[in-house]
């Protein structure tokens, strides 16, 4: 135990080395000066009544348009477009738990890759700490294995209400009568409820592309095998495997973890681009291990509507290194050394914009503030898919606005290894 305490003591010493940021006092002062006056309780009550009335209007709207209502701030991209067009299947069924939590399955949108469930959580008794709510969801049908939850996110509206979406692996073609199983741990016992619904296959998003890719590319020390692309008007989904060429896959990843922070692990990135230059917006994905292979999936919005050809490009492994440094700068700043790899070559004005020229191999993630707020970066996308170069190169980041005294913050640097190889996806 003494050694354990030594390790803890070591962490304490590390913490003591952390310096208080110079701007702390200014931050406190700004916060006090910008503090908003309190809103009278009567105004809150009036706003609440307004929301209440609106919510009732929305319900009737939902009945006519079949749009799943109340999720506008939770869904984006093609999912939002489809829902706006009323292409989801409205379910509107609820279940209640003994602790007063009520869950309503408002609707679903599905295709051959995934089923997205829209649900609301409401506490009818006490304030709800959503971070402690141990809710587990599973979708069941005829398939005895059920359909596992893949991903999800949501928004907590207040201490009693939240809206969420979650996606499951798509129900098999033979499924019709489904059950959403919901389990919450209450007093160390799992309480289970279910909501039954019938899949309306007419509502399923039709497949637009399904292609076996079966193509390998080599990126640095990794071999990436792209297996299959499936896409509908709801989503795109691509999967494959990663192998390490020299050495054991598991060992290489262990080594990576041993020498670096978790934040710094390499992860696979690539773009799917049409002949018109449009890219698929990836929204998620994950990696899993099996013996000597690592499997990956990436999922994103629907493919763009019009294209003749599709290509997988900019295949790369990216890793992040934390920099976390900030500097007082002006338009006269030249050759500012951030670390051994990164140099701010110069800062200059161009019209109403401020240009920051940074020399580095990897892509730096930077922010520039004018003393009050961060200035908008105008051309980050230009470098986003740009692979790391062998020698340092200069990137010019353009920010909207000008200020005499500015603060330049370096958050991370993205290092990547990439290949020039592209994969053509045949489209019928």
């Amino acid at each position: 135990m003494k050694d354990l305490e030594k390790l803890l003591e070591g962490k304490r010493e590390e913490l003591l080395m952390i310096e208080v940021p110079e701007e702390m006092e200014d931050c406190l002062r700004n916060a006090l000066n910008k503090r908003k006056k309190r809103i009278p309780k009567s105004a809150i009550a009036a706003a609440f009544i307004a929301v209440f009335i609106l919510a009732y209007s929305f319900d009737s709207l939902a009945y006519y348009s079949k749009k799943i209502i109340g999720y506008d701030n939770v869904i984006y991209g093609s999912l939002k477009e489809l829902n706006d067009e009323g292409k989801g299947q409205v379910i509107n069924k609820s279940c209640s738990f003994s602790n007063g939590i009520e869950i309503t399955l408002d609707g679903i949108i599905f295709d051959d890759s995934e089923l997205v469930a829209f649900y609301k959580i409401k506490s009818t008794k006490e304030k709800l700490d959503f971070s402690k709510l141990n809710l587990f969801l599973r979708l069941d049908g005829i398939n005895p294995m059920g359909y596992l939850q893949k991903s999800g996110h949501g928004k907590i509206i207040d201490d009693y209400n939240g809206v969420f979406i979650t996606s499951f692996n798509a129900p098999a073609f033979y499924e019709k009568w489904m059950k959403l199983n919901l389990s919450i741990k209450i007093d160390n016992t799992a309480e289970e409820k279910e909501i039954s619904f019938t899949l309306d296959r007419n509502k399923a998003m039709k497949k637009t592309v399904e292609k076996n890719l079966n193509t390998k590319v080599t990126v640095g020390n990794y071999e990436v095998y792209f297996e299959k692309l499936t896409a509908s008007s709801l989503s795109s989904y691509i999967n494959g495997k990663i192998k390490v060429l020299t050495g054991n896959t598991k060992d290489v990843f262990e080594e990576n973890i041993a020498v670096k922070e978790a934040f710094d692990l390499p992860h696979l990135e690539f773009d799917i681009v049409t002949d018109k230059g449009e890219k698929v917006n990836f929204t998620g994905g994950n990696m899993g291990s099996s013996l000597n292979e690592i499997s990956f999936t990436k999922n994103g919005d629907a493919l763009p509507e019009e294209f003749n050809t599709l290509e997988i490009k900019n295949i790369r492994f990216e890793s992040y290194k934390i920099i976390d440094k900030s500097f007082d700068v002006s338009y006269e700043t030249k050759n500012l050394k951030v670390d051994n790899e990164i140099i701010v070559k110069e800062i200059y004005y161009d019209g109403e914009e401020t240009c920051v020229v940074v020399s580095s191999r990897g892509l730096p993630i930077i922010g520039l503030s004018n003393g009050e707020e961060f200035m908008e970066i105008l051309n980050f996308d230009q470098y986003k898919s740009y692979p790391e170069s062998k020698e340092p190169i200069e990137r010019t980041f353009r920010f909207a606005g000008k200020a005499k005294d500015m603060k330049l913050e370096f958050k991370n640097i993205v290092n990547s290894i990439s290949t020039d190889e592209t994969i053509s996806i045949p489209v019928d």
């Binding site: 135990m1 050694d3 354990l4 305490e5 390790l7 803890l8 003591e9 070591g10 962490k11 304490r12 913490l15 003591l16 952390i18 208080v20 940021p21 701007e23 702390m24 006092e25 931050c27 406190l28 002062r29 700004n30 916060a31 006090l32 000066n33 503090r35 309190r38 700490d129 959503f130 971070s131 939850q149 893949k150 991903s151 999800g152 996110h153 949501g154 928004k155 907590i156 979650t166 598991k250 990843f253 262990e254 080594e255 973890i257 041993a258 020498v259 978790a262 692990l265 992860h267 929204t283 998620g284 994905g285 994950n286 990696m287 899993g288 291990s289 976390d324």
Partner: protein, 171 residues
Amino acid sequence: MEVIDLVEKAKKGDKEALIQLVMQKKEEYYRLAYVYTGNKEDSLDALQNMIVILFDNIKKLRDADAFYSWSKTILVNECKRILRERKKEIPIEEKEEGGYFENYQGREMRQDITIYMKRLNIHQQEAIKLRYFLDMDYATIAKMTGTSEGTVKSRIFNGLAKLKGLIGGEY
């Protein structure tokens, strides 16, 4: 200037007095926020939220001597709120990737205690961090986390025992 005088001034709406109170112990405040949030931006956000809450509520503070423990409790609550907010924003996909990598922990990582601390429950982590990283006594931790000294001791005891088990070997 004495704490009591500054508190009295702050109660009358003197913002600079309140800033001075906090800045007199800036290291303690910043490190407390950093222990919870783990980064500069969130720490400063929590501190900014804290000072606004302090300003709005300092009139209710009866005992000026209690200013520091009162304000630090508010800071801890703000840090927790920020962490909850951030948790809301993290898509589940990212968590899954983290989970995957956790399965591949190398032996060398045993030296990095913070990685193992993430396996403890949130209360145990909190108690151990406050006790060992910030050198707080049991009574202060109990006050700050709204629990009893006995509970704090048991969280630390159980947390350390679990850590020992996780690290294994000579630890």
